[in-house]
């Protein structure tokens, strides 16, 4: 048993729902108790879908358990077929139905429906949402992609590809798709099928006609792409085009596979990110300490953007996607840090506190942790709340995605000019040590929490010292000698908080009772980076 307050991922049948809801002409019959329909509102509320998910639940109750839940399941499948007339169906069990051991696949097969009915085995007590989406998509592709077709010879013909991975409830999947389609269009590559998003079961039957596949979200589509490679001889590109560098590599990889010239897409300055990053206002971003956490796809891609395209310093990297732990560990090692691989938000919170970042890039969950700690934050990965299914075009992928990312990653921090002005006018009542950026709305309140709360550090100059407190003795802070205190006031305001924290940490570690002028500059020398 695992004590859980927050879960980064839902159970695997939610992943299956994400695939079914993304598609057209497919219906999902889920053997599940009354109450599991709560999942509908993720789609109708968070993603604001205008249709109910194409899911029929058996919604069995206790009184049904005494009778024949298998018969109930068959009746529901038959009725759902009659009502919705889908091209294909998927059937499966949620966690409770898994325990009562009816066999959805066998039961549905016994009905002899005139459409493909694909059974899903989604072990709810071992696996989670993304795995469920991947498995469902893989099973659908396996069942419906048909026998290998003879593709026309490549000479002079326009190449085509499939786009694999976008689902319902996917973080920015809608807009990523628009960007990727535009890139392919400019490369002169035809899009054969996009799946699961918008595809019908019949469309899946056409998958084999494409020359190659593009995997946009490996968590969801890698398994299906590997199958298509084996069954239909289609190579696939798995470079996730998030960030300028990654998008460039993606364009080159796709162009190579398609035998076309990448120049039309890469010519000129396709993204504003490089110039914005080089403009002098961005200088203050240099070496800002950033902590990145999310699903593997986004955590890896955003870590690279943060480090190599904006010039932050990566002080933390992690994912809740255990399937991709190896890749994330390798990336973290390049930055000389250890990856945080966990699905327990308390572990993530502890890691954030220990790393003492100046910016957190994470999920909805990290947004709340950062809010509590008074650290600026931006959301870069699911799970996300309704505000991260925005009305405006906001891709993560492609060159426009890179523009969006620059804004997303930089806005929570104070802009350089604003920071400078604050320093100049620091004695004005409107501007002082404790002033938060105007757009960071929320100062941590003084509520009581069982979890150790970080001191309310100014986001301008957060202390690099670990905030975690190890026992009462460690809390004792050395006192300041008057001359040291006076000297501290001369230090430019925007680094003063850091200087204070560094001096106190230096004194604490050396058990110095008094911080003198000497200590202050010893600490400065010690911590200078």
């Amino acid at each position: 048993m695992q004590l859980t307050v927050w879960t980064y991922e839902g159970p695997p049948h939610i992943g299956a729902m994400r695939v079914a809801t993304a598609m057209e002409g497919l219906h999902y019959v889920l053997h599940a108790p009354q109450g599991d329909t709560y999942a509908d509102l993720l789609f109708t509320m968070i993603e604001r879908r205008a249709k109910r998910p194409p899911v029929t639940y058996t919604t069995f109750q206790a009184r049904d358990l005494g009778g024949d839940t298998a018969a109930l399941f068959k009746d529901v499948v038959a009725a759902a077929y009659e009502r919705f007339r889908p091209q294909a169906m998927i059937v499966g069990a949620s966690c409770t139905a898994e325990l009562i051991q009816d066999d959805p696949g066998g039961l549905a097969k016994a009905l002899g429906l005139p459409i493909p009915v694909i059974p899903l085995e989604l072990p709810a007590y071992q696996k989670k949402e993304n795995w469920g989406a991947s498995e469902t998509f893989y099973r659908l592709v396996r069942a419906l992609s048909g026998t290998p077709v003879e593709r026309a010879p490549v000479d002079g013909r326009r190449r085509s590809c499939n786009l694999l991975g976008p689902t319902a409830l996917g973080f920015r999947h809608r807009d990523d798709l628009i960007e990727i389609r535009a890139i392919l269009d400019r490369l002169g590559i035809a899009v054969n099928v996009v799946a699961p998003s918008g595809a019908t079961p019949a469309d899946l039957g056409q998958l084999g006609e494409a020359d190659f596949n593009i995997v946009l979200y490996p968590e969801i589509a890698r398994a299906a792409a590997q199958f298509l490679e084996k069954a239909h001889g289609q190579p696939f590109v798995e470079t996730v085009p998030i960030g300028v560098g990654a998008t460039t590599r993606f364009v080159e990889a796709v162009a190579t596979l398609a035998g076309v010239d990448p120049a039309p897409v890469l010519a000129g300055a396709p993204s504003r990110l490089p110039w914005y990053s080089r403009s002098v206002d961005s200088t203050y971003l240099t070496g800002k300490r950033v902590f990145v956490f999310g699903d593997a796809t986004h955590a890896l891609a955003i870590a690279r953007v943060a480090a190599h395209e904006i010039g932050f310093r990566l002080v933390g990297l992690g994912t809740y996607t255990r399937e991709f732990a190896r890749e994330v560990r390798a990336e973290a090692a390049l930055h000389g840090i250890e990856a945080t691989i966990t699905d327990d938000y308390l572990d993530v919170e502890a890691a954030i506190q220990a790393a003492a970042p100046e910016l957190v890039l994470g999920t909805q969950m990290e947004r709340h942790v950062a809010k509590r700690l008074g650290i600026p934050c931006a959301v870069i990965s699911a799970p996300v709340h309704v505000q991260d299914f925005p009305a405006r075009h906001s891709p993560q992928m492609g060159f426009e995605g890179a523009n969006v990312l620059f804004d997303t990653l930089v806005h929570p921090l104070m802009m350089g000019l604003e920071e400078h002005l604050l320093g100049m006018f620091r004695d004005d009542p409107e501007f002082h040590d404790g002033a938060a950026p105007s757009h960071l709305g929320h100062r941590p309140s003084d509520g009581t929490h069982a979890v150790g709360r970080a001191p309310a550090a100014s986001p301008l100059a957060p202390a690099p010292a670990p905030i975690r407190i190890e026992g009462e003795a460690a809390i004792q802070t050395a006192s300041w000698a008057p001359d040291a205190e006076k000297e501290l006031k001369k230090i430019p305001f925007f680094v003063r908080g850091k200087a204070r924290a560094n001096a106190e940490r230096y004194a604490r570690e050396r058990r110095l009772p008094l911080i003198t002028l000497e200590t202050l500059y010893d600490a400065k020398a010690h911590f200078s980076r």
Partner: protein, 422 residues
């Protein structure tokens, strides 16, 4: 499936029909979301699956982050395979939890579908843990599983689990008001009862150590319509229910108070004097919305069991027309007064067959459809105006001072539709 078994019409001419099929409702675990805020030193530990954790997180929205007093002990394959002793695992989880939250005085082990299906004996676990953690923490258990409870029935199961624990009262002169009410509403009712000269206590109390005493002859008044098991548990301890409509709207509140006042022999003149200001204010507040709601055709999907009293309020006080009133469960005894107040011929449907209900709703094209969040946006997209029903559980709606707010909840979506030009 979908067998529509017509039941005999009640004396008041309301037809009640039972319906079976797919249900789009929450399970009883959802009750935790408001119950944990009511009992301030209680913790709710669901013993269930990742689905249960995901449900509570989805229903609780942003509350999940404010160091909430609920969590899920997720059963994993080691537990199911017998590799780990589930009772030992539960003890370990609870120990860790209590160490982390020493402020907790009352711990509910909440059963879920998975824990019920594998027949994990949470009542014995509660007894065992209660002994171990006494006297600092009491441990109780109830089931909020979807197979046994629908949405608000989770509160019923929770309160029913408290009843055997309530101390024995000496006298019988106290009134017990049953059902979790928003603190502001509870305070208003406490003042009204006090002015009437009735000593009233509330179940649940705001703290575990202050739960009301009951005894033979204790008279209780239900503040919520979904408390069948709690009422039965109270009756088993010799308490007597005061049958009344529910305190929604000016009329409902007055009759609810009047029934209690009569039971306690309050002088009618005093009753009039005490209730007159609230009644006047509530009527005044309601008048502002009457124009917007009069003649509007309303369709209720089943959700919380509040549907019948709400429909009664909309029909009698706001002049709305009722197309269909769905309810997940209809306690004919507790709702007798409410059913009598419904207009003759009102169609009440107990249970649900979702797609059939949607067909009827689409055919009727109501002016306002009261439904859950899974249906609301899809129906809006079809051009129907909706009021999402879960808000009626989280918003203070009972009593005189909230009558206007209650009407506003229904009037606002209509107002909004009228305003939007795009």
């Amino acid at each position: 499936m979908n067998a529509h078994a017509p039941l005999p019409a009640t004396e008041c001419g309301v037809t009640v029909r039972a319906e079976h099929g797919q249900r789009a409702v929450f399970c009883g675990l959802t009750g935790i979301v408001w119950l944990h805020r009511k009992i301030q030193d209680a913790f709710f530990l669901v013993v269930g699956s990742r689905t249960c954790a995901h449900l509570i997180q989805s229903a609780a929205g942003v509350m999940i982050f404010a160091e909430p007093r609920f969590a899920t002990a997720i059963i994993d394959e080691r537990d199911l395979a017998g590799l780990a002793d589930m009772n030992e695992e539960l003890d370990r989880v609870v120990t860790r939890l209590i160490e982390r939250r020493p402020d907790i005085r009352l711990l509910f082990l909440v059963g879920s579908c998975p824990s019920e299906v594998i027949k994990l004996d949470l009542s014995r676990a509660a007894q065992r843990l209660s002994r171990r953690l006494a006297p600092d923490v009491r441990v109780l258990n109830y089931s909020g599983s979807g197979i046994e409870t629908t949405f608000t029935q989770g509160e019923d199961a929770c309160l029913a689990s408290l009843v055997p624990e309530l101390p024995e009262a000496a006298g019988t002169d106290e009134l017990l008001v049953v059902g979790a009410l928003a603190d502001v509403v509870e305070d208003q009712f406490a003042r009204l009862f006090s002015d009437l000269g009735i000593a009233a206590r509330f179940l649940p109390a705001r703290r575990a150590g202050q739960m009301p005493a009951i005894g033979r002859g204790t008279r209780f008044l239900l503040a919520q319509p979904f408390l069948a098991d709690t009422a039965r548990a109270l009756e088993e301890r010799g308490c007597q229910r005061i049958a009344a409509p529910f305190p929604l709207g000016a009329e409902g509140t007055t009759e609810w108070l009047r029934t209690a006042a009569e039971a306690f022999g309050v002088d009618p003149a005093r009753f009039e004097a005490v209730t007159a200001p609230g009644l006047r204010r509530s009527r005044q507040a309601l008048a502002a919305y009457a124009e917007k709601l009069v003649g509007k055709r309303v369709f209720f999907f089943p959700d919380s069991q509040l549907e019948v009293p709400l429909a009664r309020f909309l029909s009698r006080e706001m002049g709305a027309d009722l197309i269909e009133v769905g309810t997940p469960y209809l306690h004919r005894g507790h709702l007798a007064a409410e059913l009598e107040w419904l207009p003759s011929g009102t169609a009440v449907v107990e249970g649900q067959s979702l797609d059939d209900g949607l067909d009827r709703c689409r055919a009727a094209r109501p002016d306002l459809t009261v439904c859950g969040l899974g249906l609301a946006n899809p129906l809006e997209a079809e051009g129907l105006t909706t009021k999402w029903s879960i808000e009626l559980l989280f918003t203070p709606i009972q009593g005189y001072e909230q009558a206007g707010d209650l009407a506003e909840l229904f009037a606002r979506p209509l107002d909004r539709r009228a305003r939007l030009e795009v």
